[in-house]
């Protein structure tokens, strides 16, 4: 248990250190460009299915299922966002590839996903 905890802590410290270095070297224009592009692609994939689900919410009996589907779609949207974030980051600022982008972005993805799952559980508890 102690060993596992140490491992988690060391991974977190490694992430923080790498993130700090990455933030120092990343240009602000790259940040905006990459965020905008990956967000747009993520939206492109998920917006229409989300709208379809929102439209179907008129069927009150399916409400619980639709809310669940909506949360799953947002979760998928987060995964798509971070996937393209890494791709665009290495494309627009090639010098950043010297850092372990797979680890840094992957760790960020895990944190955001965990926060979202926590939020989703609250939403489901309210609805179902």
């Amino acid at each position: 248990m102690k060993k596992r905890f140490k491992e988690i802590l060391s991974r977190f410290m490694r992430f923080i250190n790498l993130q700090k270095k990455l933030n120092k070297e990343m240009k602000i224009s790259t940040l905006f460009k990459v965020t905008f592009l990956s967000f747009s692609i993520s939206l492109l994939f998920t917006l229409t299915p989300l709208l379809l689900i929102t439209n179907l919410l008129i069927l009150y009996n399916l409400r619980d299922l639709l809310v669940l589907l909506m949360l799953i779609l947002i979760f998928i949207g987060i995964q798509i966002y971070f996937h393209y974030y890494r791709i665009f980051l290495s494309r627009y600022q090639i010098d950043l590839t010297k850092y372990n982008l797979k680890f840094i972005i992957g760790y960020e993805k895990k944190i955001v996903s965990l926060i979202f799952i926590f939020f989703a559980i609250i939403v489901l508890a309210v609805f179902i």
Binding site: L47, T48, L51, L52, T54, N55, L56, I58, L59, Y60
Partner: protein, 314 residues
């Protein structure tokens, strides 16, 4: 071979993107139609609490109204049942979803107050209440907001049951109203004939024995149509009636006990009929059920009739 496959993939994606775009449009573009669909029932024991009394629970019904519908929603509802679609009415056109929600909440609170006053009086219990004026439930005017309680017009105090015809020929109004617990005076010019205020008499309960309170947990339900069943449930609770029947129903109630018509009655009936022994409706809307033969339907014209029905079930 790989190049050919890539070309096929590109063509397929292009065609699919059109379908994707089409779906986007039909799920966003609004139509001129609205719908009322069956919702769910809510037990009155979840709606209010009476101090030291067990609530005699009955079922109120809520239906869900969507306005305006998107093309996709319209197609889905047409596929299920064509009867549920109607052209958007003036009230839905004038008010957006947030305003309709606000209006629904005001109507619910006011209807609950009226129900409680009526039921306490009929059950010979103490209730102290006051008439505050007329609450505005329309957004057609820029000056008078939804929820404003009008106290006087041109220095004439608005008393219960006042005849509003006397104000129709006047073009300039001096109005005193309560907005968010503050007194506001405004000069209001009725230059636009499209402005129609929808006013409802507004009562507040100051104190009652036993104390009664409305639950805030059911904020998503609004409107006055639960009035009849709420009043009957309060009355039955105060009289400590014990009945083995499950009673549900709908109807707007006024302070003199008159039961007024409601919207979406058929949808409300289909929401509740399978789980109830008796379903109360305003008697003025009985003709809607001509095609439905059902001994569960009880037409009610005033609150005394509803009480008699309940007493006879004992």
């Amino acid at each position: 071979m790989k190049k050919k496959n890539n070309e096929i993939l590109k063509k397929t994606l292009t065609i699919l993107s059109f379908a994707y775009f089409y779906l986007f449009i039909v799920s966003v573009y609004p139509t001129d139609y609205s719908t009322t669909l069956p919702g769910d029932t809510k037990a009155t024991e979840e709606i209010f609490k009476i101090e030291n009394y067990n609530v005699f629970s009955m079922d109120t019904i809520f239906v869900i109204t969507y306005s305006p519908l998107t093309y996709l929603q319209k197609s889905i509802i047409e596929f299920i049942s064509n009867d549920n679609i109607s052209k958007t009415n003036d009230f839905d056109k004038e008010n957006n979803n947030i305003e309709r929600y606000q209006i629904g909440q005001i109507q619910k609170q006011n209807s609950f107050n009226k129900s409680a006053i009526l039921a306490y009086k009929k059950a010979n219990k103490f209730i102290d209440y006051s008439f505050h004026g007329y609450v505005n439930l329309s957004n057609s005017s820029n000056d008078i907001k939804v929820g404003d309680i009008i106290r006087t017009i041109n220095d004439i105090e608005l008393v219960e049951g006042i005849d509003f015809q006397q104000f129709q020929s006047i073009n300039i109004y001096k109005i005193e109203l309560i907005r968010k617990n503050k007194m506001v005076t405004l000069e209001y010019q009725n230059q636009n004939p499209d402005i129609k205020l929808y006013l409802d008499s507004y009562y507040e309960i100051n104190s009652s024995i036993p104390a009664i309170s409305l639950s805030n947990e059911l904020d998503f339900i609004g409107g006055p149509s639960g009035g009849l069943i709420t009043a009957l449930s309060i009355y039955a609770s105060l009289k400590q009636l014990v009945l083995k029947y499950k009673i549900s129903g709908t109807g707007v109630i006024s302070l003199n006990g008159e039961v007024k018509p409601v919207g979406g009655l058929i949808q409300k009936y289909y929401t509740a009929y399978s789980n109830s022994d008796f379903f109360m409706i305003p008697s003025s809307q009985l003709e809607i059920f001509n095609s439905v033969e059902n001994s569960k339907i009880i037409p009610i014209s005033n609150f005394d009739e509803a009480i008699n029905f309940l007493e006879n079930l004992k």
